[in-house]
């Protein structure tokens, strides 16, 4: 039986983890491999690095981060943020990433998804979609970029359907309305996306409690749940989330806590 994944997401800027990191017992709090290792030990089923560096010269730093992480963390590693070409995708995969998430670049040039899927296989091509509810329409969402500052005019569900047809093997779906609010996932958005395509949906944006994670899976039909701040700030542990999922009858991977 396929188990549901719990995925911590680390925002990386210029080679450092930023935003809401409050681990006290780490010598180097912002070191991405150190934090990734900690999450893996605590039962993370996968690690996502989202590179939010503005400067192009930070790419080399990101590759170094991926390389160092892949030497210490033996769970899957997904890297997103600023990947614009098949060459850049190859570099990230060669550094040790298992999957690469593309967002804006695929909107600008949808054929990028096909090129990457043909070259590396669709299983490592993740389409990352930031969606915002269309006011006054409960069942429509628009794709936004630049952290929600820029609208694209694309219907989110249509775009997801097209991206999967073009080659994406997984969807990382973020509700921009809920992101950072801790008010729960946009379950209607998750349900709509899940019904539209056959590939796995990773729910993102809005996780505040373990109950939100349960709802994303049992009501939103998501295959995996992603969260950032609740894990980084130690508000809830991955184990607590998995306990809640298991109690709700959702199959999860339990780790022994020793080397896990």
């Amino acid at each position: 039986m396929l188990l549901r994944r719990v995925i911590p997401c680390l925002d990386v800027k210029d080679g450092r983890v930023v935003k809401g990191v409050r681990f006290v017992d780490l010598t180097d709090e912002g070191d991405p491999p150190t934090l990734a290792e900690r999450h893996a030990r605590n039962g993370a089923d996968e690690i996502v690095f989202l590179d939010i560096s503005a400067a192009p010269e930070a790419r080399g730093t990101l590759l170094d981060v991926v390389e160092r992480t892949a030497k210490r963390v033996f769970v899957p590693l997904t890297v997103g943020g600023g990947v614009r070409s098949a060459t850049e995708m190859r570099d990230v995969l060669r550094a040790g990433a298992d999957k690469v998430a593309v967002n804006t670049a695929a909107i600008r040039d949808p054929s990028l998804l096909t090129t990457c899927a043909r070259t590396f296989g669709r299983q490592c091509v993740v389409i990352s979609v930031d969606a915002r509810a269309v006011p006054g329409d409960a069942e429509r969402w628009e794709v936004v970029v630049q952290g929600g500052r820029e609208a694209t005019g694309l219907d989110a569900i249509e775009w997801i359907r097209r991206a999967v047809k073009l080659g994406a093997g997984e969807v990382l779906l973020t509700s921009i309305d809920r992101d950072g609010t801790g008010s729960g996932f946009d379950l209607a958005l998750l349900r709509a996306a899940s019904a539209a395509v056959d590939v796995p949906i990773v729910a993102s944006g809005g996780a505040g409690t373990p109950g939100d994670m349960v709802a994303a899976i049992t009501e939103g039909n998501a295959d995996a749940v992603l969260a950032a701040s609740i894990f980084h700030r130690d508000i809830h542990s991955i184990a607590t989330v998995k306990d809640a999922l298991a109690a709700a009858g959702v199959p999860v991977r339990r780790t022994n806590g020793l080397a896990a």
Partner: protein, 224 residues
């Protein structure tokens, strides 16, 4: 030529870094094989790989590696196939009609009745036949899968574990000196590392007592 040592075959089909890192952590000394000479020297040939079988076989043929790999296995070398590397062991794939290494009888087909494809995520290894490859790993232990196609071996007795995703398929096969993992042991946390350790033991490549490797070292690594 005497064969010794472990190679990871680089035929342009995916991530070599993770498997290399994992084997090094366990005290193995993998080198990367890109030529037929590299294959001819190896006693254990690890074939990783993701993606489609057709293009992968084409690259392998173009690089002149397919026949040397077949010869090596007939010559007594171990073949360790991971994900696509396991599928390539069989004769033919439905994915694109590719003719493959044909070291094992059987074909490769899409997962039947899968609720979602690709099959991405952690799923369970259900033991069908006890074998040392699963030593120290519990029946039902989760492993990380990323694939849409699966092997359908002609000989059911080579199936060590099965996994279910809409239908059941072999997740570990062992036949003589051939081992196939449909999942990624190098991405399957502590159980995955234990499987690789078993593989090194079985193939005679486990590090000796004078090696710098130690149990403590391996356990101290963060392995999910």
């Amino acid at each position: 030529m005497t064969r010794s040592g472990l190679v990871v075959v680089d035929y342009g089909a995916g991530n070599l870094v993770s498997i290399r890192n994992a084997l090094e952590l366990l005290g193995g000394t993998p080198s990367i094989a890109t030529t037929s000479d590299d294959i001819a020297r190896a006693s254990v040939i690890v074939v990783p790989g993701v993606g489609a079988s057709g293009p992968a076989m084409e690259r392998m043929e173009r690089q002149g590696l397919a026949d040397p790999i077949r010869d090596a296995v007939h010559d007594g070398a171990w073949y360790v196939g991971i994900c696509l590397g396991m599928q390539l062991l069989f004769e033919r794939s439905d994915e694109d009609g590719a003719q493959m290494l044909a070291l094992l009888e059987g074909d490769v087909v899409a997962i039947a009745d899968a609720p979602r494809l690709p099959h991405i995520g952690w799923n369970q290894l259900e033991v069908q036949r006890p074998h040392v490859v699963m030593g120290g790993v519990a029946d039902g232990a989760p492993a990380y899968f990323v694939h849409s196609y699966v092997a359908r071996p002609a000989d059911a007795s080579i199936v060590i574990t099965e996994t279910e995703h809409g239908s059941r398929f072999p997740s570990i096969v062992v036949s003589d000196r051939v081992i196939g993992y449909q999942f990624h042991p190098e991405r399957s946390g502590s159980d995955g590392l234990q499987l690789l350790r078993n593989m090194l033991d079985l193939t005679g490549l486990a590090p000796g007592t004078d090696s710098p490797w130690s149990e403590t070292q391996a356990l101290s690594a963060s392995v999910g």
